[in-house]
Symmetry: C2
Subunit: 205 residues, 2 copies
């Protein structure tokens, strides 16, 4: 059985939603980041990076959202969550998720986690100040160039949707008005209407 | 036919090496980042992100290193560059590449590209100052926790190897002594001995 380690307010929400949508049996273990549970020796033995999502499988541990999302799609193909027989379409979806992890999530992290990249308080404050502008630029690109609708990659719901939903959910906290991005805002409402999303959101409250 | 747009000194080297190793016919178009060719209207029509690697296929344009690497492996399965029939092993490889793009490449970018995340010269200098420490911490984790040897994922060469080779190639420039990481250093020598790597490196000189 699969066990997902997650924390509320993190990108683990994306993997949690997709896991629920595979229909598989799984355990979800909520971690308390406020008490730094992700730095405990027990958890670091599981995932030396000290991050979530961390997915424990019978074969071993998997990390990193884009890898976990594709793994779930491939392990439960009957759920139809990725274009597994079309390498080009799959690569388009992977490129979208890769942009989210390497650019958008990184832009967001310069808010609360700016101390990763500089020690001086003034530098941290400067990164925090610029963060909303960078998040808005990322979502301009998503809204006008990348999002197809009604789902991220077009007609078919899949592995990009819970990930965009997760990161778009950070916009208010990041001082960006989601109303500037009508397609992204409508996608969020579409996601919120899904029973699997409603069920998982209760665990992340 | 595939066309790869690349620039010297960038992560496009990873896709270039793997493309060469597929045995496919392709064109490689070198771009001049010094003249900001990646911001030209022509190139932005191809890739609105203004980045490389950008891979033009008969079906359309692909971006983002992890997506391009997997696409090449799936499109040329006879080259044996990924464990395509084993979702868990593939996810482990994807997790490695995802860590490179979202954490290690990002750490590196706080050197020359720190102005992405703050405007004040003092803040940019503070990020540049901390960058070598962050790069070293990333490579500690790779050396001691992630790298299996002789190739990244163990006995079989594949889609993680040219990507690690590319980013490890930035260590000297980032003021980190690769001798601190003997497995990574030996991997670099192993890579340099491959004919495909020697051929592609000439294009990136």
């Amino acid at each position: 059985m699969l066990t997902l380690h997650y924390a509320a307010g993190t990108c683990a929400l994306a993997s949690h939603i997709l896991l629920e949508q595979t229909g598989a049996r799984y355990d979800a273990v909520r971690m308390d980041f406020a008490s730094n549970a992700q730095r405990s020796p027990e958890f670091l033995r599981l995932n030396p990076k000290g991050r979530v999502p961390t997915l424990v499988t019978e074969r071993g541990v998997l990390t990193e959202t884009p890898a976990i999302l594709l793994y779930l799609c491939q392990t439960f193909p009957q759920a139809g969550l990725a274009p597994l027989d079309d390498p080009f379409a799959l690569a388009e979806a992977q490129a979208f998720n890769s942009y989210l992890c390497s650019t958008v999530h990184v832009a967001h992290a310069h808010g609360r986690r700016a101390s990763r990249w500089a020690d001086e308080p003034e530098a941290i404050a400067a990164m925090q100040k610029k963060m909303p502008q960078n998040m808005a630029e990322c979502f301009e690109l998503i809204e006008h160039q990348m999002f197809r609708g009604p789902w991220v990659m077009g007609e078919h719901y899949g592995l990009c949707d819970p990930y965009l939903f997760t990161i778009a959910g950070w916009l208010e906290r990041d001082q960006v008005d989601i109303a500037r991005f009508p397609k992204v805002a409508a996608h969020r409402e579409r996601m919120r209407a899904l029973p699997a999303v409603q069920k998982v959101m209760l665990d992340h409250a």
